[in-house]
């Protein structure tokens, strides 16, 4: 098991009966005059795995980054685990405590060892004693398959290993939600699988996940729901079977024909 802490819902409850953990209502965002998100409405249930697809520049990355306040939005409302994402610094920090994020370019801290990368936030944000944080970090490294790298620096690891460390770093905070922003796009083909395997394992253990990706195999296998973005608008959403095998919208068909 990748997670050794309890998620605060009963995984045996059917998905439809669980509570919403992320609610986005009428979210709009502009860069200058460029309208990048147009009335986006998305709700995510506890333990749900949502994959966001779309062509580049469709606003899917921007959307996932508004959820933990890395991007501001100008209109609408986002509520994560009861906290409103707005200008209140305390609220945003509360959300970030419960939300892990994995980036396309890993963004490990190059001047710290792998172990220090993982324990930094647990020690200073969660205020755990160093020994506890390190114990959890070492366990996580073992579970993502690289326990022997704990005392190396990020520059000494391969891309796939770095991304697995980044996942471990996010999980060390014991978050309720994980956001993945194109986690495999910067990886060499032979390393994509090792990262996707960790993500699949995470999905199986009941983590709430929002994943922006181009990995169709992953989407089909793991997603509870797929959302298709184009030009800042949600074109279509549904289960993988609905979306891949029976797309309703012309734009969806076009996108799938280009990518598959």
């Amino acid at each position: 098991m990748l997670l050794d802490y309890k998620l605060d819902f009963n995984p045996d409850t059917p998905l439809e009966e669980r509570d919403d953990i992320i609610v986005c209502k009428g979210v709009n965002k502009w860069y200058g005059n460029h309208h990048v998100l147009k009335d986006v409405n998305v709700s995510v249930k506890q333990g749900e795995v949502v994959v966001i697809l779309g062509p580049s520049g469709s606003g899917k990355s921007t959307f996932i980054r508004t959820i933990n306040g890395l991007e501001e939005y100008q209109k609408g409302e986002i509520v994560v685990d009861g906290h409103r994402v707005a200008n209140d610094v305390a609220e945003i920090e509360a959300i970030r405590k419960e939300t892990g994020m994995v980036f396309q370019s890993f963004n490990l801290f190059p001047h710290m060892t792998i172990l220090n990368n993982i324990t930094l936030a647990p020690i200073w944000v969660r205020k755990w004693p160093k020994a506890k944080a390190e114990e959890i970090a070492l366990k996580l490294l073992e579970r993502v398959g690289i326990p022997e790298q704990a005392h190396k620096y990020p520059g000494q690891l391969s891309g796939g290993q770095q991304q697995r460390v980044a996942i471990a770093r996010a999980l060390a905070m014991q978050p309720k939600i994980m956001l993945f922003d194109e986690p495999t796009s910067a990886l060499d083909p032979e390393m994509i699988k090792e990262v996707l395997d960790v993500m699949k394992e995470l999905a199986r253990s009941g983590m709430t996940m929002l994943v922006v990706t181009h990995e169709m195999g992953f989407a089909r296998e793991v997603a509870d729901r797929i959302i298709l973005f184009d030009q800042g608008v949600i074109i279509e959403e549904g289960t993988p079977a609905e979306l891949f095998d029976n797309p309703k919208h012309e734009r969806t068909k076009l996108f799938l024909s280009q990518i598959l």
Partner: protein, 406 residues
């Protein structure tokens, strides 16, 4: 598809790790021909350069070793290094130096690397001075004792283990500065030595160290302030940095001499303290711009990753951004401090007798008429030794921290 496997691949894979690149066999003559006489232009440049170096060295060395009268340095040796500091209190400066020597030796044993080279260089300088024929025997004892301190520090440091030892030594380094100041000044603990008799190299190095210690944190604060989201803080920092960078250091000194007493009435701020404040404030503005350059070199992803983990802005800056930014600006910062060290010679204009100021008084003494070449050359040598040590330490530090390897 018809796959043809290359029969050589297996042997190539097996031998590839054991095969070494071909040996360089060109030899001395080959090297000379390749690097110095490869074309007629290169040959011409080589000949001109050799002739030029010969001409310069020939003239200057024959003056340094022949015509120059170095007695002027011997007669004023103490003056050049400590100014008018009273002879009966000189032991306090020696003691301060001994603290530094001991710490240097301990650090050499603990860290090796850069510290080894600096310690050896320091001991070498002690030795050179100690074997000079004009040195008094008391001074010689102190110098050899300092060499002994460096060496014994090294052997003790090599034996010490444990995490706390390194922390204790770093703390001791930090403490050594205020201890030195108390030792030199007195402050009632020891008989007071008025600052107007501080001079020579002692004064130069004290102004430099104070300047570094205060301008560094101030520069970081100004750089952070300049990138702050709060407009008042940002405007204040921009105004400060741009005003200071827009005026020459000497005007800052004059301002410090004349304006500070005007603003602060009721108690006297000492001349040397005013100069130290001036140097620190001046250098902080430049340090701030260096740090800002470092901050801008950190990719946005580093900020985002720290924020996404829930780190507050001060913690993000302290743990993630500043360590990387400062590491990137070590070369620029040390360059700044070397230039500050040399710029302290301007304090002579506001009436202090630093290294250069003392030099001026010596050459204006009728007893040493016409000896300005010897005096200024010796002073230049002291400046060079310190500046070169700083630049050397910085290059070693860059290497050990891995700047430019990322």
């Amino acid at each position: 598809m018809n796959m043809q496997s290359n029969p050589n691949i297996d042997t190539a894979l097996e031998t590839s790790t054991s095969e070494l690149p071909p040996k360089n066999t060109i030899g001395v003559w080959g090297w000379l021909r390749k690097n110095l006489f490869s074309s007629w232009l290169n040959t011409l440049l080589t000949i001109v350069t050799v002739w030029f170096v010969y001409a310069v060295l020939n003239k200057s060395l024959s003056w340094i070793l022949g015509a120059a009268e170095w007695q002027v340095i011997a007669a004023n040796f103490r003056l050049i290094f400590v100014g008018q500091y009273p002879v009966e209190e000189l032991w306090r400066i020696w003691l301060s130096l001994s603290i530094v020597s001991a710490l240097m030796g301990l650090s050499w044993g603990l860290w090796r690397g850069t510290m080894a080279n600096l310690s050896v260089s320091l001991s070498f300088i002690y030795f050179i001075v100690a074997v000079m024929p004009f040195i008094q025997s008391g001074t010689r004892v102190w110098l050899f004792m300092n060499i002994a301190l460096v060496l014994s520090g090294y052997f003790i440091g090599k034996k010490l283990t444990g995490k706390w030892v390194k922390r204790a030594i770093i703390a001791a380094w930090l403490l050594s500065f205020p201890v030195t100041i108390v030792l030199i000044k007195g402050f009632g603990v020891l008989p007071d030595v008025a600052t107007n008799v501080w001079g020579g190299f002692l004064l130069t190095i004290l102004i430099t160290i104070v300047g570094i210690i205060f301008s560094f944190p101030l520069g970081i604060l100004l750089a952070l302030g300049r990138t702050s989201k709060l407009p008042v803080v940002r405007w204040f920092c921009i105004t400060y940095i741009e005003v200071i960078r827009g005026v020459p250091l000497i005007t800052v000194f004059f301002t410090a001499q004349i304006m500070i007493p005007l603003f602060i009435q009721g108690f006297e701020i000492n001349n040397i303290v005013r100069v130290m404040i001036g140097v620190s404030l001046f250098t902080a503005a430049y340090a701030a711009e260096n740090v800002r350059g470092g901050l801008q070199s950190i990719p946005r992803g580093q900020y985002e990753a720290a924020q996404a983990l829930g780190l507050s802005t001060p913690r993000m800056m302290f743990f993630v951004i500043l360590p990387q930014a400062l590491r990137a600006v070590i070369p620029a910062m040390v360059g700044q401090y070397i230039s500050m060290f040399k710029d302290t010679s301007l304090v002579a204009i506001v009436g202090l007798f630093d290294l250069l100021g003392i030099g001026k008084t010596i050459v204006s003494n009728p007893d040493f008429l016409g000896k300005h070449m010897e005096v200024y050359l010796f002073i230049a040598l002291i400046y060079w030794v310190v500046a070169f040590s700083m630049s050397y330490a910085s290059r070693r530090m860059e290497k050990s921290l891995g700047v430019g390897e990322r």
